[in-house]
């Protein structure tokens, strides 16, 4: 910003004016949706809209024992009305997300449809759970129009009736371990990309120009090939009766019965992701390595350094920015990977993005999906910020 200050106001306005249309477009078509996602995580109006009287009466309930008859009458009336316009089951689903088993309690209550005076007895008869304070607590919690509960769930936390934060019971802690697994897999993929990418980047950078160009093309071919094509290629190669296993059996390295399970598990995810992301490691490395003057290494060696010393004392530090940029980019892209794990990951090779997709498309717990997405967004945002500091987002090069 300070650098721009030196230029006349009109030039600054013109430059900003050129960027403005895209900034506006990205804000509306990309950033606003991200905002909408975060809103979805905290805004849950359904229960608040359909059970207003019940929730108002529950405000004065101290959480001990069961609320008074007025609350029973209100909930019976409002649930019956919801049943009539077929939203009772949806309310049940929402309350069920607070405490499992509540769906059937709510639906039974909605079907009871008693008269005012006998509401308590009728609901208790429909399902004895109506006499438990937990049921009412669940309704009150599900009735919060704005809630951070989804974020708590995304972090495997929950709140007890008295407001204390507790960790979920062990068998329900799935999102934090999954996030950790995602980070671990991303780190492994980054490491693999580095181990495979650094040597070939060096080869490309140090080869004669014509040869270098050809070798670079070999990196760019998969880079340009559709992700789905590459993913189906890996299925073809890795499946039990696929090309690779066939080759191993033909070579006698693996017995017919001992064919390796290379796909539809974590192995498949790792292999395919490394393949997909390798060019993102190689390209920044090549551009940094090309900038290392050839004679520095020769100078070092002529001064008596061994090849190893020359590499570790001179070449490695000089290429570190490329390593950092490539690694961060690969790591960031890996964390958000969805398609590859979904297609080749089986059930053990799924990552956090797949869980978001699951809650978006299958369980339809959009609030939770959005909250997990929010957590992922924070992680990726922090890494992107770091990347911008290290490499500068504007320094990205595409081949």
């Amino acid at each position: 910003m300070s650098a721009a200050r030196r230029y006349p106001r009109s030039a600054r306005i013109r430059a900003a004016g050129l960027a403005l249309p895209l900034v506006a477009f990205v804000a509306v078509s990309f950033l606003a949706p991200l905002g909408a996602m975060l809103t979805e995580a905290i805004h849950q109006p359904l229960v608040a809209d359909t059970l207003p009287e019940t929730l108002a009466l529950l405000e004065s309930w101290n959480g001990e024992g069961v609320p008074d008859d007025a609350a029973f009458a209100a909930v019976a009336r409002e649930l019956a009305a919801a049943d009539a316009n077929r939203t009772a089951a949806r309310i049940g689903s929402r309350v069920n997300r607070v405490a499992s088993g509540m769906r059937s309690v709510i639906v039974a209550g909605a079907r009871a449809d008693p008269d005012e005076a006998s509401a308590r007895e009728a609901l208790a008869e429909a399902d004895p759970a109506w006499l438990e304070p937990e049921t009412w607590f669940a309704i009150r919690t599900a009735g919060e129009r704005f809630t951070i509960r989804n974020f708590l769930l995304a972090l495997d936390l929950d709140r007890t009736p008295d407001g204390a934060l507790v960790r979920q019971s062990e068998d329900r802690r799935i999102y934090v371990p999954l996030l950790l697994r995602t980070l671990l897999v991303s780190a492994a993929v980054t490491l693999l990309c580095f181990l495979l990418g650094y040597p070939i980047a060096h080869l490309i950078a140090s080869a004669a120009p014509a040869r270098s160009r050809w070798l670079l093309l070999l990196v760019l071919v998969p880079f340009w090939t559709s992700l789905l094509v590459r993913t189906s290629a890996w299925i073809v190669l890795l499946q039990t009766h696929g090309v690779l296993n066939g080759l191993l059996v033909a070579l006698g390295l693996v017995s017919e019965d001992g064919r390796l399970a290379l796909v539809y598990n974590m192995t498949g995810t790792l292999i395919a992701m490394t393949h997909v992301l390798l060019p993102f490691m190689v390209l920044p490395l090549v551009s940094v390595m090309k900038g290392v003057p050839r004679h520095t290494l020769r100078a070092a060696e002529s001064l008596g350094a061994t090849a190893g010393q020359a590499f570790f004392r001179i070449y490695w530090p000089l290429t570190l920015p490329g390593t950092a940029a490539g690694s961060l980019l690969v790591f960031i892209l890996a964390i958000g990977y969805y398609i590859t794990p979904a297609l080749v990951g089986g059930s053990s090779g799924q990552l956090i993005s797949n869980m978001i997709a699951f809650h978006m498309q299958t369980s339809l717990n959009w609030g939770l999906a959005a909250a997990i997405g929010g957590v992922l967004l924070v992680v990726v945002g922090a890494l992107y910020f770091l990347y911008d500091r290290v490499a500068g987002a504007g320094s990205l090069r595409l081949g």
């Binding site: 960027a19 900034v23 080869l203 094509v229 551009s287 960031i332 892209l333 398609i339 595409l398």
Partner: protein, 273 residues
């Protein structure tokens, strides 16, 4: 040193060759398998014996005759072209602004404009599902075009900025001192020089849209099926060589794209990394 094959260097070259095989082989293996006469994804014995009976164009015929793929191709092209036009126009303008030394808050704005490339698509797609639904844009071509344009702009910004970084700003000053207005300067001086960058940016944006499936999964309906969406259901549901035939065609596309971009990059005067 070169004359005596140094074992360490041989090892190094051997390792590099294996990595190159790892990069390219999966793509290449698909091509012959797409001519399999049987509905399997492995090389049959007949194929290995080069028995002509074992090879056929059966899956390509299925691709052409099974209406879904051709409809998907039309969708992919329409969406890809529209999205890349939007992305290219907006992205080129923004790159011109960003590469001006007078650009205020350049670092922040660049970071913002590149973010669609870095932020996981699944998050964008989920958000778009909520936001675009409230605008009635789900299950429309327009919704997907806008989404793909947003995802494609970083590619244009990056490539055009790269071209502009080698651009001599004195040319602009010279043109202006000779009396050319800003628009004229742009059209007659800047545009011809950055045209290769703009074109490869456009190709990148098109390719990004042409390969995108997550947004289509979340926003698209039956009428917005694209090629990758069709491949997605193919892989998940009924993986047979039709997928490989489609994949082979996409590989040919990719090679063509790559060659065009390489030619643009190597055009004399086109400065880029």
């Amino acid at each position: 040193m070169r004359r005596f094959p140094n074992p360490r260097r041989m090892l190094y070259l051997g390792f590099c060759s294996l990595v190159f095989v790892f990069l390219v082989a999966p793509v290449l293996v698909i091509v012959p398998l797409s001519f399999n006469a049987e509905p399997y994804l492995t090389f049959t014995e007949g194929m290995l014996r080069l028995d002509p009976e074992a090879w056929s164009l059966r899956w390509y015929r299925e691709l052409v005759t099974g209406g879904r793929w051709s409809a998907a191709l039309v969708n992919s092209v329409v969406i890809g072209v529209a999205a890349s036009v939007i992305a290219t126009v907006l992205g080129t303008l923004a790159a011109l602004g960003l590469s001006s030394p007078a650009m205020p808050a350049r670092r922040f704005v660049t970071g913002l404009l590149i973010s669609p490339m870095v932020i996981p698509v699944i998050l964008a797609a989920a958000g778009m599902f909520f936001f675009y639904a409230s605008l009635g844009l789900t299950q429309t071509h327009l919704g997907i075009i806008l989404a793909h344009a947003a995802l494609g702009t970083p590619f244009v910004v990056v490539t055009v900025t790269a071209t502009l970084s080698g651009f001599d700003r004195n040319l602009v000053r010279a043109a202006q001192s000779l009396g050319a207005g800003p628009l004229r300067t742009f059209r007659r001086v800047q545009l011809p020089l950055i045209a290769p960058g703009v074109l490869s940016g456009a190709l990148f944006a098109f390719a990004a849209s042409f390969d995108e499936v997550v947004v289509v999964l979340f926003l698209g309906g039956l009428e917005q099926r694209t090629i990758p969406r069709q491949m997605w259901s193919g892989i998940r549901e009924e993986i047979n060589p039709t997928i490989l035939a489609a994949a082979t065609i996409l590989i040919v596309f990719a090679l063509l794209f790559l060659l065009v971009v390489e030619m643009l990059r190597r055009r004399p005067g086109a400065a880029s990394s």
